[in-house]
């Protein structure tokens, strides 16, 4: 897949937060529940082409290592990223704190990066409310505060995975288009990010 990448997407978050599974599910459409946990070393790269409104967009997805050992090196992975998926594990409150760290990091260094806050392992909390350690409303609240979108996903069931990446691609296309539009209109105000009502949204019980 060496080729032009239109949109650099980076996944950040605490280790064991399900980033690799998320990417694996999206790119290869598979989830292996039997596979033992495998920590990512450095970062893995995957690319996928999607079509938004007849326009083809290549997503270059960087799945980074969550381990703090690589923290100082993460910058090389998120530099220039147009979108970032900051993941946390819905069953692990410390991962939510870690997500906040990454958000701050991004806000400071990559102002133009659009952030998507993503609660992972939804399948674990879907039927078992007790397992949920990060509650949806406070996550949503935090997302609003940082003007990010909030999604809960499950790589196991595939829930909201395609939706998440499609949303990222659509936002990107819309933003670029808006920018073009904005340049035409010589309107330098902040580009409106028109949000289409998400199709899957109502399915989400959060």
């Amino acid at each position: 897949m060496a080729g032009k990448v239109d949109l650099k997407v980076v996944l950040l978050g605490k280790e064991y937060g399900g980033k690799t599974s998320l990417v694996e599910r999206y790119i290869h459409g598979k989830f292996n529940a039997q596979a033992p946990y495998q920590s990512t070393i450095g970062a893995a790269f995957g690319a996928k082409k999607v079509t938004v409104n007849g326009e083809s967009v290549t997503l270059g997805i960087w799945d980074t290592a969550g381990s703090e050992r690589y923290e100082s090196m993460s910058r090389i992975y998120y530099r220039g990223a147009k979108s970032a998926i900051v993941c946390f594990d819905l069953t692990d409150p410390s991962s939510f704190e870690r997500a906040k760290f990454w958000v701050n990091e991004l806000k400071q260094t990559e102002e133009d990066c659009v952030i998507y806050l993503c609660g992972t392992k939804y399948d674990l909390v879907e039927d078992n409310k007790k397992a949920r350690k990060v509650d949806a409303s406070s996550a949503k609240e935090y997302a609003d505060e940082i003007s990010a979108k909030y999604v809960e996903t499950s790589a196991k069931t595939g829930y909201n995975i395609d939706y998440l990446f499609m949303m990222i691609a659509e936002d990107f296309v819309n933003v670029t288009r808006n920018k073009v539009q904005a340049n035409k209109d010589e309107d330098s105000s902040v580009a409106l990010r028109l949000e289409q009502p998400p199709m899957n949204r109502e399915k989400c019980k959060c």
Binding site: A2, I41, M73
Partner: protein
């Protein structure tokens, strides 16, 4: 040395007139005997020559890394031949390496009768500390060290190792007071010089805090006298210490490995940590806060340490300082190599193509070298991790022998079509992912056009070979190491050795012979050993090391005849069996 066997060492031909034994060392337990045919104490040939050349001038012992050799030289200055062993019919078992609490100044020989108890060469206080370390090892158990068949425990461990997934640390939760914990064949501990636990091969470090404290106390007690603690021997237990700046590595072993071999194994653990963190980073961290818990940074990489210890316990290549090569048609190897060379991006520092733990080919710049230990760490990275199979990776890795102060960045990707071959391109620049990605695409395109992708996969599938065509059924197995290229080849293990027990015995034999052939104090050129289950020939020349396993009933004359036949065949097939030269750019 009354030997009647004449050995022309350099033209690699052995001749035997009368197999009159000369220099016997008897191992009392099983009356096995080793005969060394040539006079000992020959200076080892210079191993510095090219291919995987080492960056520094090596010490004499080719079996260990230069750094260790250097260190050992230093250590040996005070006490004479550190790991020497007197032969000539003493009851010292061949593979044992002396040194009961051997320190720089105090050097103890393993004298008759002294093996039944722990020997302490320094004064009283040491003795009590040493004893307490030993008794801690048996905490909650009978005071006597359990010698309950460690071999069986080791076999069970290896069996478990094969059956469980690589990625779970299977012994992490083991109860450190259980007898199974105590009976492990080989414990490995890593502790910072300030006494903070860093790693334990078995059990949780938190549960072993007092044990770590004792290790640290032992080391610093001896250090107070401006001395270095190297080894404590007690009965069948060897406790070996490897001291690196700021970190101490400890092996508590019931295996037959010598002190130096255990040190080399500990060095692998050390280099593995460096490869994850770099030496510079460790130094900075500990200088800033000596009490830092390094486990915090090593999180997730313990499995790499586990894995390198498991491999060095079972694959002889690692401690023999050689790289296992994939046997393949020389023309195919040649084409692959030249393709990689031709399409190499200027950002590429090293490029390797490997299939699991076997090297297919690699290229390097003229002025830089890749040490076998670095290649082993690369093998370990790829083998201990399955995540490379699913995506292209951009991975920071420090190759300690190349440069222990910083990371190289490796583009890691398996060849397409589910190929078992994995391509690694190294760059010093962390920004060059896409350049290396394109470089790989170009290489793959070309290989694909030439129809070589399939051929590579086939070669990996068919690389195992046997030596049936030699029509020498007495030869069961061999291991050949080119001293010029550090390449190793050996045929498929015969069915006779399908049990772990047999493999373990063979592994121990190889290690023992290696020790005999290379330890400079009494190095021999040819060894012949008759055991109860097999006979072995060890042969060292300036060009190669050869270890051959024979049927036990073979005569020595016949073994030498077959050894010659085998080496002629290997020489003829060398280009196919191993990598004989490294292309540079």
């Amino acid at each position: 040395m009354a030997t009647k066997e004449k050995v022309k060492t350099d033209d690699e031909e052995l001749s035997v007139q009368a197999p009159d034994l000369s220099y016997d060392l008897l191992e009392e337990e099983d009356s096995e005997e080793f005969e060394s045919v040539e006079a000992p104490a020959l200076a080892d040939e210079d191993e510095d020559r090219s291919f995987l050349p080492v960056t520094k001038k090596k010490g004499r012992e080719s079996s260990s890394s230069p750094r260790i050799a250097q260190r050992r030289k230093k250590l040996d200055k005070g006490g004479g031949g550190g790991a020497g062993l007197e032969g000539g019919g003493s009851d010292v078992s061949l593979h044992e390496d002396i040194a009961h609490l051997t320190t720089d100044e105090d050097h103890f020989r393993n004298e008759d009768g002294l093996r039944s108890d722990m020997l302490i060469s320094l004064g009283g206080p040491n003795q009590s500390i040493g004893a307490s370390l030993l008794s801690t090892m048996t905490v909650g158990e009978k005071p006597k060290l359990p010698d309950a068949d460690p071999e069986t425990a080791e076999l069970a461990r290896r069996a478990r190792m094969n059956s469980t997934s690589k990625d779970e640390r299977e012994f992490e939760d083991e109860d450190v007071h259980s007898s199974s914990w105590i009976n492990h064949h080989k414990h490995i501990f890593i502790v910072s010089t300030s006494g903070k636990p860093i790693y334990s091969r078995y059990g949780k470090e938190e549960q072993l805090v007092s044990l770590f404290g004792i290790m640290q106390a032992l080391v610093s007690f001896v250090a107070d006298d401006k001395d270095v603690l190297r080894c404590i021997s007690a009965q069948n237990l060897k406790i070996v210490f490897l001291q690196k700046p700021l970190v101490v590595f400890v092996a508590v072993s019931r295996s037959k490995l010598s002190e130096n071999q255990l040190k080399l194994q500990l060095s692998y653990a050390y280099y593995q940590i460096i490869s994850v963190l770099t030496y510079t980073q460790i130094k900075q961290i500990f200088e800033r806060s000596p009490g830092f818990d390094l486990r915090y940074l090593l999180q997730g990489s313990e499995k790499f340490i586990d894995n390198i210890l498991n491999i060095t316990d079972s694959d002889p290549c690692y401690l023999l300082n050689g790289i296992r090569c994939l046997s393949m048609s020389p023309s195919l190897r040649q084409t692959i190599t030249s393709t990689i060379l031709q399409y190499r991006a200027k950002e590429v520092l090293f490029a390797l193509l490997i299939a699991e733990d076997r090297l297919i080919t690699f290229i390097k710049p003229k002025d830089h070298n890749l040490h076998p230990i670095d290649i082993h760490l690369i093998f370990n990275l790829v083998m201990a991790s399955t995540s490379f199979k699913s995506a292209e990776s951009w991975t920071p890795i420090c190759l300690p022998k190349f440069n222990d102060s910083g990371f190289l960045h490796a583009y890691v990707s398996y060849l397409p079509e589910n190929s078992p071959a994995c391509l690694l391109l190294f760059s010093t620049d962390k920004e060059k992912f896409f350049e290396l990605q394109q470089c790989k695409e170009r290489i793959v395109d070309k290989l694909s056009k030439l129809g070589l992708l399939e051929q590579i996969s086939n070669s990996v599938d068919t690389s195992d070979y046997n030596i049936d065509h030699l029509q020498a059924p007495e030869i069961r197995h061999f291991l050949y190491r080119s001293r010029k290229s550090y390449s190793i080849t050996s045929p498929t293990m015969p069915h006779l050795y399908s049990s772990e027990e047999d493999r373990l015995r063979l592994f121990d034999y190889f290690m023992t012979m290696n020790q005999r052939l290379h330890s400079h104090a009494w190095a021999t050129k040819i060894l012949y050993h008759i055991g109860s289950k097999e006979a072995l020939l060890g042969w060292r020349t300036s060009n190669f090391d050869l270890y051959v396993v024979f049927d036990p009933l073979i005569s020595k004359a016949q073994a030498i005849l077959l050894g010659n036949k085998l080496i002629r065949w290997i020489n003829k097939e060398e280009d196919r069996l191993i990598i004989t030269s490294t292309p540079t750019f």
